[in-house]
């Protein structure tokens, strides 16, 4: 299986964090070319490439940029979402560490395409090294006078998952409490400081220079028709060779896990796969041949999401997995809308009781109903992201949940292999955590 490198092209041979090295692989050439073009021509290329947002929502990038009003009297802003916090996802980190100039170049091209004079990169607070690499790259670009009058602001977050949600990010950027805004109005109309704002993921931005280089149509030939191009997949969990792998969209999970990742270690059996970060529905071992593309995953009842593939072997307790996922979302819920704030806490309480073996059989249905009542009722996708995976765990591994109820204890005891998959929530020291009585 050839690894076709687009985003990370050249990064294994050279140190692309240096501007001169990046110049060697044709860096910033596309920016210079793009600046010659009309903004509409760049948008047309993006449309032709059928590039879809890499943050997880799969919204067509060209279309989103097209929503920006042409004749607004207010300034326009481009915001790059580098607040990568989804459990299991570490692709943006790799991209920023290894090809920071590509992120900057893509951002500047996009800023030109929407006629923005200001670019804000909102980087996750914990990504200190990445921040420094990006800042060094930015300094180099500024000294080389590549910014072309665009102000590029590198803003560090303070460690809230919700600030990865686009409107929560804007609020945080404005210096307010990081909580999502009600949509509509969408950021393209009323975004940062009330001005039209385009928000894109780091990976999306880093793809842009290559699209300009290859041409939109050529790029669209990569991958599958519904998910064009390549993606950096973050492979983690109970797998031999975890890490970031750039692959064309449409690669199957089996290829990724077994051919590239080396399969499940210690001769254990594959039990389940989370194909797109902790927010998506779980897949069972027999769905391992599903291709990593938007449509195929949807048919399988899940999503590629942020491209984080988490492999779970047969020692893992799904109830414990659910508990840790739910704890994460409870801890990260911003507290603005009711279903998410109250529902995630309730979910954790129920899962705790199930894990401890104190639950009744009908509490599994109650858990499902709580998930159902969160789903689709929240202000932002965080609530859905908590409810969907938990519901899928109960759906697909109901027998395991029942076993907990029937046995009155966790059948896996301390044997679970989850330690390498999800951190328990009490690692979040220094933050006020919700105390859940069991």
């Amino acid at each position: 299986m050839p690894i076709s490198e687009i985003l990370l092209a050249g990064a294994s041979e050279r140190d692309l964090t240096k501007l001169e090295e990046y110049h060697m692989v044709g860096g910033y050439a596309q920016l210079a070319r793009a600046r010659e073009l009309e903004p509409a021509a760049i948008l047309a290329e993006l449309d032709a490439s059928n590039l879809r947002g890499r943050g997880g929502a799969f919204f067509a990038t060209g279309k989103k940029a097209g929503f920006m009003p042409r004749d607004s009297p207010r300034p326009k802003y481009l915001t790059v979402n580098a607040d990568e916090s989804e459990p299991g996802t570490f692709k943006d980190r790799e991209i920023m560490l290894r090809v920071p100039h590509r992120v900057i170049e893509g951002s500047l091209i996009t800023a030109h395409a929407i006629e923005a004079r200001h670019v804000f990169i909102y980087i996750r607070g914990e990504y200190l090294t990445e921040f420094e690499v990006l800042r060094a790259a930015l300094d180099e670009a500024r000294e080389a006078e590549l910014l072309g009058g665009v102000t590029l602001v590198l803003h560090r977050g303070a460690g809230a998952y919700i600030c990865g949600e686009e409107t929560g990010l804007l609020e945080s950027l404005e210096g307010k409490r990081g909580q999502p805004r009600a949509k509509p109005p969408y950021p393209a109309i009323t975004g940062l400081y009330g001005a039209p704002t385009l928000i894109n993921n780091v990976e999306t931005m880093a793809t842009v220079p290559k699209i300009m280089e290859l041409g939109g149509e050529e790029y669209a030939k990569l991958g599958t028709p519904d998910s064009t191009g390549t993606r950096v997949f973050s492979l983690s969990g109970n797998v031999v060779r975890g890490g970031n792998y750039e692959l064309p969209n449409g690669t199957t999970l089996r290829e990724l896990i077994y051919d590239i990742g080396g399969g499940v270690p210690d001769g254990r059996e594959l039990k389940a796969i989370i194909p797109g970060g902790s927010s998506v529905q779980i897949l069972t071992a027999d769905q391992v041949d599903t291709p990593l593309s938007y449509d195929a995953m949807r048919e399988a009842g899940s999503s590629v999401g942020s491209g984080a593939i988490i492999v779970i072997d047969d020692r893992a307790c799904i109830v414990q997995l659910g508990l840790r996922v739910a704890q994460f979302y409870m801890h990260e819920s911003c507290g603005k809308c009711t279903p998410c704030r109250e529902g995630t806490r309730w979910m954790v309480q129920l899962l705790n009781r199930i894990e401890d073996g104190d639950a009744e059989e009908d509490e599994l249905d109650l858990l499902l109903d709580v998930c159902d009542r969160i789903l689709g009722h929240c202000l932002c996708p965080l609530g859905d992201a908590a409810a969907m995976p938990i519901a899928s765990y109960v759906d697909k591994f109901r027998d395991e949940f029942r076993e907990h109820v029937r046995a009155g204890r966790c059948p896996y005891g301390g044997e679970s292999s989850l330690e390498r998959v999800f951190a328990p929530v009490d690692q979040h020291r220094g933050h006020p955590t919700v105390e859940v009585a069991t």
Partner: protein, 731 residues
């Protein structure tokens, strides 16, 4: 104004036409359908969609419930509420279940019980029983976030109404949400008390029993109370209020939204100062000075006899000192007694009143829509008429420019504005919706600012306006009533045979006190012992605005009805004025309605008492004669700084008697301009001595950028006997 485009929306199958852009909640209401809400409150700015109670199904949108509060009416929209949509019904049921999961359900103890939106909506839309079997989240409670407000975080449903009020209406930013997720809670910064002029409004905004007034704590239940719609009589704004009474006692004051006057907000003084009704030193019996024994309680018959004797003995050499807080009827009755009965035409008012601004009359709400607002005068607007300050903030948020000319020379500023080559004046001339506000003393009742407006061409612009902020709540009405009682004039009496002091404000006025020293006898009407005891010969008990029927005229010139909320512990003023008047052959009815009928013929165009209305309308502009700015008062010359006194909002006889408001009283400080402070080497927070002719006060210095050089501003109660020119030096 252009006519807004109408769109047709179907709500639960009912077609309704509303202007485009109307919120869905209002659209449904227009169709007669209620969409339940918690966090939605249009007066707090854009909807935030936090509570998820208003979920409805909208055809053509993604197949999940939509928050109605964040949507606006579009043509052809088909909306299904919980009445017809199972999806919406389930969603609302789910929201309520989630809200109640951690709600303590201590309704029997909670003061909101019985008038609680959460209770009401749970009964209508919520699940009948809980499925929550875990311990609920607990917090310490109740927490007094200020002496007037208590916070119960367990009951809080985090609708963020209070924090939004604090952030985007009062703009004090003192109330915030801290922590996140299920542990989110409302707090003040660093647990400092919530000090603000409008903090009490959050208790009314709160849809549950989380923020409650401490003064109403466990006082009454909704089925035990009566509500009296009246107006607040503590400042010239005249906010419309509902007074809650139980068993003949005032228990709380709530706002009663008059969109043109107060927009549904009231200040903390109006809300919490009602405690003065039951003050310990309230006078309930007349007091009569008896030789060697001082003031002794007397019966009413005796008191009226004594009043008659004193009035006759003065032989018409009578001066009446008015407070400006009397009702129009009371002032008219008194004027009739004094002027037609006794030929005593001399009255002392706490400030000058003029009808000059009536030619530029505009409702207060128009300030929010203004384009350019210029505030002149010495006093901060929020100290004189706090709600006007809220309108100014709203205007600023709406994009208006608000210019304050700075303290020290309002008349000068007016003359300058009206000059030919003034830049600000030019812009006022050019603006379509300019507003001029005079806030402070020395304004000649608005004559300065009205003359300025006329020269700026306001007369020809219907959307321009001039406001004069008087010191007294009903000064305008009292003056109109006084002058309506008689057309005769008389010379000022000298020496003064009798000083008649009406009200606590007049009684605490130093100039009235100095008159009293020159008078042979003094009759005073006051509510409190502290006001007149010691220097009056006869004290008649006074009543408060909450105990009176009648009318008030506010600063806009709006005539508003005052309704008696509780029966005073003593006969009201009109009762004994009527009796006294009878002894001098003057007919004054003891009933405000009859008195109003008589004076309405003279000054209010025959408007019947019954038609003043609960939401009084504003009279149209009244043409005024030629406007000429009066000569400005002479600025005192001398070394040192000019002393500018102001009467703080939280001051006066009523506020002093409410212990809960003590924390809001002004600090003992002197405000200095940055230039003077630098010159005098004074830093903010320094202890300074303020001296003038022999008197000295030690105060704390505060630097105020809004002050011009050469001025020291001190609150009335801290300035005490300081003269007009003071010297300030570091202690």
């Amino acid at each position: 104004m252009s006519v807004p485009e109408l769109v047709t929306v179907s709500v639960d199958g009912r077609e309704v036409q509303v202007p485009k852009g109307t919120g869905l909640v209002e659209t449904a209401l227009a169709a007669g359908i209620e969409i339940p809400v918690f966090c939605y409150e249009p007066r707090l700015g854009p909807a935030i969609g936090a509570c998820r109670m208003c979920l409805v199904e909208v055809e053509g949108m993604p197949p999940k419930p939509q928050a109605a509060c964040t949507l606006t009416a579009q043509d052809g929209m088909v909306v299904k509420t919980a009445l017809t949509s199972q999806l919406a019904r389930n969603a609302q049921n789910a929201t309520l279940e989630f809200i109640l999961v951690n709600h303590p359900l201590d309704c029997p103890v909670c003061d909101k019980g019985g008038e609680c939106p959460l209770q009401d909506l749970t009964f209508r839309f919520g699940p009948g029983r809980t499925r929550m079997t875990f311990p609920k989240r607990t917090f310490d409670k109740p927490i007094p976030i200020s002496p007037t407000i208590s916070l119960d975080r367990e009951r809080c449903i985090l609708c963020y109404r209070c924090t939004r009020f604090s952030e985007s209406v009062a703009e004090d930013g003192e109330l915030v949400a801290v922590n996140r997720g299920a542990q989110s809670m409302i707090a003040t910064f660093e647990d400092e008390p919530y000090r603000g002029r409008f903090s009490g409004n959050v208790t009314e905004l709160c849809p549950v029993g989380a923020l409650l007034p401490t003064t109403y704590r466990f006082e009454a239940r909704p089925w035990e109370i009566q509500t009296v719609p009246t107006v607040c009589g503590l400042c010239p704004v005249g906010c419309n209020v509902n007074v809650t009474t139980r068993e003949g006692k005032v228990k709380r004051v709530l706002s009663r939204n008059h969109p043109d006057v107060d927009g549904g907000w009231i200040c903390d003084k109006g809300r919490f100062a009602f405690g003065h009704l039951g003050a310990r030193d309230r006078i309930v019996d007349p007091l009569r000075r008896q030789r060697r024994r001082g003031l002794q309680p007397a019966g009413w018959d005796e008191a009226v006899d004594e009043a008659e004797r004193l009035l006759r003995a003065a032989q018409g050499r009578i001066v009446t000192a008015l407070s400006g807080s009397e009702t129009v009827e009371q002032a008219y009755g008194l004027a009739k007694l004094m002027r037609t009965g006794l030929g005593a035409h001399t009255a002392v008012l706490p400030e000058e009143i003029s009808d000059a601004v009536d030619g530029f009359r505009l409702p207060l709400s128009a300030i929010a829509g203004a384009e350019l607002i210029v505030v002149v005068g010495d006093d901060p607007v929020e100290e004189r008429a706090p709600i006007v300050d809220l309108w100014l903030r709203a205007a600023r948020r709406n994009g208006a420019e608000v210019v304050t000319t700075g303290v020290g020379g309002g008349a000068k500023a007016c003359r300058q504005l009206a000059g030919e080559d003034d830049e600000l004046g030019r812009r006022l001339r050019e603006s379509d919706r300019p507003v001029l506000i005079w806030s402070g003393s020395g304004g000649a009742g608005g004559a300065h600012v009205a003359a300025c407006a006329e020269r700026l061409g306001f007369g020809s612009k219907p959307d321009s306006g001039v406001f004069y902020l008087p010191l007294t709540p009903n000064g305008r009405g009292v003056v109109e009533a006084w002058s309506a009682a008689s057309d005769d004039e008389g010379p000022d009496p000298d020496p003064i045979g009798l000083l008649f002091v009406s009200g606590d404000e007049a009684a605490s006025d130093p100039s009235v006190r100095s008159l009293a020293e020159r008078a042979d006898a003094v009759i005073a009407t006051t509510m409190f012992q502290g006001s007149a005891v010691g220097w009056a010969d006869l004290v008649l008990p006074g009543t408060s605005y909450l105990e009176r029927d009648g009318t008030f005229v506010n600063l806009e010139g709006r005539l508003q009805r005052l309704r008696r909320a509780v029966v005073p512990p003593t006969p009201d003023e009109l009762a004994w004025i009527s009796q006294l008047a009878g002894r001098f052959g003057v007919e004054v009815s003891p009933y405000p309605s009859v008195v109003f009928g008589e004076l309405s013929e003279r000054i209010f165009g025959g408007l019947p008492y019954g038609e003043v209305g609960e939401r009084a309308a504003l009279r149209g502009r009244e043409p005024t004669g030629e406007l000429r700015a009066p000569a400005p008062a002479a600025t005192p010359k001398g070394r040192g700084l000019r002393l500018v006194r102001y009467r703080p909002l939280f001051s006066g006889a009523a506020v002093e008697r409410v212990p809960e408001l003590a924390f809001q009283r002004p600090a003992a400080e002197v405000q200095l301009s940055p230039q003077d402070a630098r010159r005098l080497r004074i830093k903010a927070g320094d202890e300074v001595d303020v001296r003038s002719n022999g008197t000295s006060r030690r105060l704390r210095a505060r630097i105020d950028k809004g002050l011009v050089a050469g001025v020291a501003r001190i609150a009335d109660e801290h300035a005490e006997e300081l003269q007009a020119t003071v010297e300030v030096a570091r202690a």
